[in-house]
Every structure is written in C-alpha cells, then in structure tokens.
Amino acid sequence: MKWKNLIKVAFKSIIKNKMRTLLTMLGIIIGVAAVIVMVAIGKGAEKRIQDQIASMGTNLITIFPGSMQSRGVRMGPDSGVRLTLDDVERLKKNATLIQAVSPMVRSGAQLIGGSGNWNSSVWGVSEQYLEIRDWPLSSGEFFSAADIRAQNKVCIIGQTIVKNLFAGEDPVGQQLRVGKIPFRIIGVLEEKGQGAFGQDQDDLLIAPYTTVLYRMSGRVHVNQILVRVVSLEQMSQAQAEITSIMRDAHKIAEGADDDFTVRNQTDIAATAQENIMLVSVTERTHEIGIRMAIGARSRDILVQFLIEAIVLSLSGGLIGVLLGFLATWVVNMATDWNTVIVPANVLLSFGFAGAVGVFFGYYPARKAAALNPIEALRYE
C-alpha cells in the first residue's frame, strides 16, 4: 500500500474507534503523568513508594491450577486440574523456605446485616493469611487455627463493607448473614485502596477456608495457594522447592509438564498486563483478518498499527505531560515536599509514553499479522 493510503487508513481507524482510542490514551496519559509526578517528588517519596510495593508482599508466591503456557493462553481451572487441601498440607509439612501458607477459596455472596444488603467477594483462607499479605487489622482480631478446625462462622471484613453496611461504625461483635449463614464479625481490615487495575481491594469478607469450603460452597478444591517465603533472597530456591513438592503431590512423571503454575508477585503483574493485551489482540485480530482477506500485506497492517500507536502515544503523552505539571504543582502547594520539574523528566515520560503505546498497539498487530487470514478471521 502506498504511504499516503496507509496514513489515511490509520487515521480513519483512530477516529472511528473512539472508545478504544480513549482507553489507550488514558493509559498513556496516566502513565506519563505518574512518571512526571513521581520523579518530581523525588527521593522523599521514593521510600514511601518502596514501602508500598513491599506491602503488596514481594516475597509472596501464588500457585495456580493449570499450566501457564497452553498456546500462550493460561488454562484456567476448567482444564480439569485442581489444587487441593492435600497440596497445602504437603507444602506445610515438607517445604523448608516457607514462612506461612494459605489456601484461597473464592466465592461471592449477598451479605445481610447492619443497615441492609451488600454483594461482596468471600475469601476462605488460613489463619496465616494476614501474615502472608502483610495486611494489618484496624480493629478486632483475626481467626485462629482452632476456628479453622471447628469451621467456625466468624469473619473479618474490609472497609468497603463497613462503609456500606455499618455506616463506618466499628462492627466487631455484630452479626452478618453471608447468604443464608449467620457469621460473627471478629475483625476489620485496614483500608488498602485501589489495586493496580482499579479494583476495590477493600470490598471483601475473609473467613476460615474450612467454613467457606464445607458450609458454603460444598467444593473440595481451592482456587489458589498463597505462600510467604522466609526471605526475599530465597525466592527462587523457594519457587523450585514448591514446584518439586507440588509435582510429587500431583504424581507428575519425570519430563511431563507441570499441571500447576508457581508465580511470584512480579510475574503476576506481568501476566495481568499480558492478559490485557490478549484482550486487545482478540478485539483487533478479526479486523486484521478482514484486511488480510482483501489483500493487505503483513507490512501494511504493521505500518498502519504503528502509525496509530505513535499518534496515540504522542497525543496521550502530551496530555499526560500537562497533567503531570498540574499535579506536581498541586503537590507543591499542598505539601512541604520539594518538587522540581526537570526537562529530562519530561523527555523521559515521553519516551515512556512511546514505549507503552507502541507495545500496546503494535504487539497485538504483529501477532495477528503472522496468522493465516482464516485463523485471524476466526477470532470473534
């Protein structure tokens, strides 16, 4: 295709897909603004940010059912393989580098109590969960190993539930019905705020996993197993140890693939990003299939997407820079932190914008353009 035509096609695509354009730009805008503000705030805040990352539990390891790589797509629990309480017991007994371990049984329920109804997630975990997540309570206490053995109907709730059902009053000691089952609230979690992907981390109820498994869900398998490793330095040894214990537990033959996945926190962030990109692959792969079916060459597709990515990155980056300036100014006025905007930071964030934009725009296109047209067309 001629350059003039390619540019025309790219711009049309940007204008027509307003929602997608907006979302992509939003990502870049926020990213750039964040970089500028963080760099401007400088050393003083650096420690704070590091603490925050540490609070996510960097020596946290999560075990998922299913193998990670099945044609590049994570096989969910539907792949038939389950994690069980037996796995948890074996880890507890045999692992040497583990400080704490907890199964995670996820469910959801209508909560009734206080001033009304609230729909929330219910997580069944062990008494070591807070230690693993490094998550303090704001009042009350956590449940004990005895509560777990007895399948007691006690729970800890997050701040969002406190706000919505108890008008912010301390609910410790009160009753809360989870579905049909009455629970006693014994503790309240400290506020955690939004997660990396905008989810509300305080909208949850935590209960003994035995209670959730046997009294509520009737299942016997667990969604995930969480592990806290003794120290950061021993993460990779711990990962290897866990893998070998799990392979034994699942009787996996020498040379055969794992039927579970062991990931640390950084891997998980990367996977989340990968999944976001997979969504945009599907979204655009069908369109790329149509374009290939009527004669677009791979290069035509790649150039079109590259132009789109660059245009979005630059305009998103520009808005981000302006927002960053504004936010820095606000921080300056509102705190005693010493903020300095250095031209190099602005360049840095532009570079960042470019990288993010090209990554998100170009990567799906490259994947799709390598398919047969008919394979690309099957994505819907």
Binding site: K16, G295, A296, R297, P373, L377
Partner: protein
Amino acid sequence: MSDDRAVIRTDQIRKTYDSGEVQVEALKGIDLRIDPGELVAIMGASGSGKSTLLNILGCLDYPSGGEYFLDGIHVNGLDRDQLADIRNRKIGFVFQGFNLLARTTAFENVELPLLYSRLQDSSNVEQLTRQALERVGLADRTHHFPNQLSGGQQQRVAIARALVNQPAIILADEPTGNLDTRTSIEIMATLQELNRQGITVILVTHEHDIADYCKRIIEFRDGRIIRDEVVARPRDAAQDLVSGRWQASGLGERQ
C-alpha cells in the same frame, strides 16, 4: 499446464486439520477445474469440507497437499506477500457473516481493496468504488454504516468490495446463509447479473433452492466430490423476483 484457460485448477488438494491428538482429514484429494464465466454451486452436508476448499481456493488458508493453479499462477510456491497480492487482485471473497469493517461506511469498505492495491493509480479510486456500488444497486447508500443497512444490503456491500478490483473470480461461502428467502434471491440475482457480465462465481450453499440458480452443481461428501453436474436450465433469480414464483413454488417455506 499454465497455458490452459481454466480460472481454477486443482490437483489432489488435501487438507488435514491437526488439533492436538485428533486429526481431521477435511479434504481427501480434490480435482477441480473451473473455466471462465462459470457459476458454480458447491453443495454438501455440514462438515463435508466445502468451506475448507473455498478458503484454500481463496488463498485464506494453505492446503496440506496437492497443487493449485489460479488463473494460470501456481499458487503453492508463493510467499505471504504474493498471496496477499493474489487475494487483492485475483479473488473477491464473500463471507456468510459479511465481514465488513464496523463504523466504516459502505464506500470506505468497498474502497479498501483499492487502497491496499499496489497497482492502483489512486486518481480513480473514487470512480471505481462508485461503479462497484452501482453494480450491486447501492449507489444511494454509499455513506451508510453497516449497522444502518439491512443484511441483504450489507452483503451487497461485501459483494461490491469483492468485485472492486476486477478479480478473476468471486468466491462466496454461504452468502445467503444469514438472509431470508426473498433477500437470498435478490443476492442470487446480483450474482447472476455479475456472472452474465463475465465474472466467474463459485458459491457454497447447502440449499437446493439457491443451487438451482447456478449453472453447475458440485456435491461434497466427507471431503470428496461425489457429484459434478451441469444444470440444464438454471432458474433466473431476477425473473423469480418479478413473478413472485419463489413464493408460489414453496421456496418461501424454508426458514
């Protein structure tokens, strides 16, 4: 070999789908010759391999074995870019689900193959696009978006897009599969008219009423051709629409 005038010639085309443990032999050796000006219906039960063959003929997919000549070109040896150019210049593909770009006007959809063409001198893109839309009777709908058009109109846009580059052949996989009876016959009238103007058409259908408008019927079973017949007197879709005979003859009964 390449001096004969066949638009399509295949020699023992095979296709095996390999999805993990199971292998499906979708085509078990297809020999086919289609000459210029033909209007061919490929029939057969669901799963008999019709789409698989059409996708290979349309260079949307590769055969697992056998030879394929399109308009004298030996397709097997071509690389990805050359195949893209073949799809662009030699083939117009029409899908059951239309496959138009959303939020993109009829005009822009039809124009797209011209934009991807490496030969096209861009001065007459607009004129060629208009002509293609006129040929399918949509001159007055050029600036409508797909969601503002009926199914039949969307399929016409897809047909206009297929013919805008003056291809050697139009391939249509169940082009009327998503349409009601009357609209299906309208689409067949359009394809018959284009065929009368000299365009070779192969279409897949599993409905006899649609195949009756074609000049030749090829029937598939289990990845093989089991019947290949010339239709003595194909029905005329335009006439059926005028006379309304499709209703009287019970064709209107099918869903």
